[in-house]
Symmetry: C2
Subunit: 182 residues, 2 copies
């Protein structure tokens, strides 16, 4: 099958066609990239903010880069600050807290860094962890490690999509993406 | 002087204290990081959108990551799509167009990648290039190279801040940051 084959999905009331991409021999996933899709970000952020309105929270946390517009829009709607964990250390970040994770879309291990300036936003606070897609859960584990190491308490995990047939009942999500195995 | 010394700035009507950071012996810059500051993003995007309202444009283009919330908010206000040039190649990006640039905050050369899916948004279109800070102009040069190689025509460059005393009269900006030389 060609890489251009797509999977049609409803995202917060909007219809999108995600390209299918082979991540391992015979295993394909649907690529959801919110970067550049302002309509999907607006709609998804509103739907997630509504579902999270009774969740105790002081701050939202995600990892760069595709979910940055989502967490920004959720921050504005929910009146909460947000923190972006970075994937490249830059010296202006100072004394960071970090954790290692493995990306399903690159297959490489990566490190998540919490900027020194953002640590006070998490220490002793209630945290909602946000991502665009939660798949293997490895980025999620990395984010949890960083939040815990920074002294935050995770009250909820939220994503636009979960992926695959693991038990995702603990995640507030707008939908589930299948993993295509041939 | 300590790294924690700050420089006080007016950003689109809001007051902020940017930490000063030494980037070369005796040379310090004020670090402006919009990631996580929803108030500054809202205010800056509105001010830039107003100044750009008569500029012919089909699409906004930036480079990841700090300016992603800004370009997203400008996209929503201006009713234009936006494209984020990435700094790491991921295989789902397909047949990318790229260009090399050097970051002032890391001192390292980096490559900007235009995702295959975004190329049609730029080819033959009028483009406003957006950044948080335009400093050495090297990231700007990288973005220009990518847009030109993709067949886009740059009609304006816009930033929240320019930095240093170069001639920035061709940039639509909300302010200028000094470079501190001791």
């Amino acid at each position: 099958m060609s890489k251009r084959e797509t999977y049609t999905v409803n995202v917060a009331g909007l219809t999108r066609h995600f390209p299918l991409f082979e991540v391992a021999p015979g295993v394909r996933i649907a690529i959801f990239n919110m970067l550049g899709d302002t309509y999907v970000v607006k709609a998804s952020a509103a739907a997630l903010a509504e579902r999270l309105k009774d969740t105790p929270a002081d701050v939202l946390v995600t990892a760069e880069a595709k979910s940055i517009p989502l967490i920004y829009e959720m921050s504005a709607l929910m009146g909460l600050p947000y923190v972006v964990l970075r994937k490249t250390y830059k010296s202006y970040m100072g004394d960071v807290i970090n954790a290692e994770t493995v990306s399903i879309t690159t297959g490489k291990s990566q490190i998540l860094y919490l900027d020194e300036k953002d640590q006070a936003l998490i220490r002793g606070r209630q945290v909602i962890v946000v991502d665009d897609v939660i798949s293997t859960g490895s980025t999620l584990e990395g984010m949890k490690k960083v939040v815990n190491a920074a002294g935050g308490k995770i009250t909820q995990v939220a994503a636009v999509f979960t992926e695959g047939d693991a038990d995702w009942s603990h995640v507030v999500a707008l939908g589930n993406l299948p993993v295509f195995v041939s």
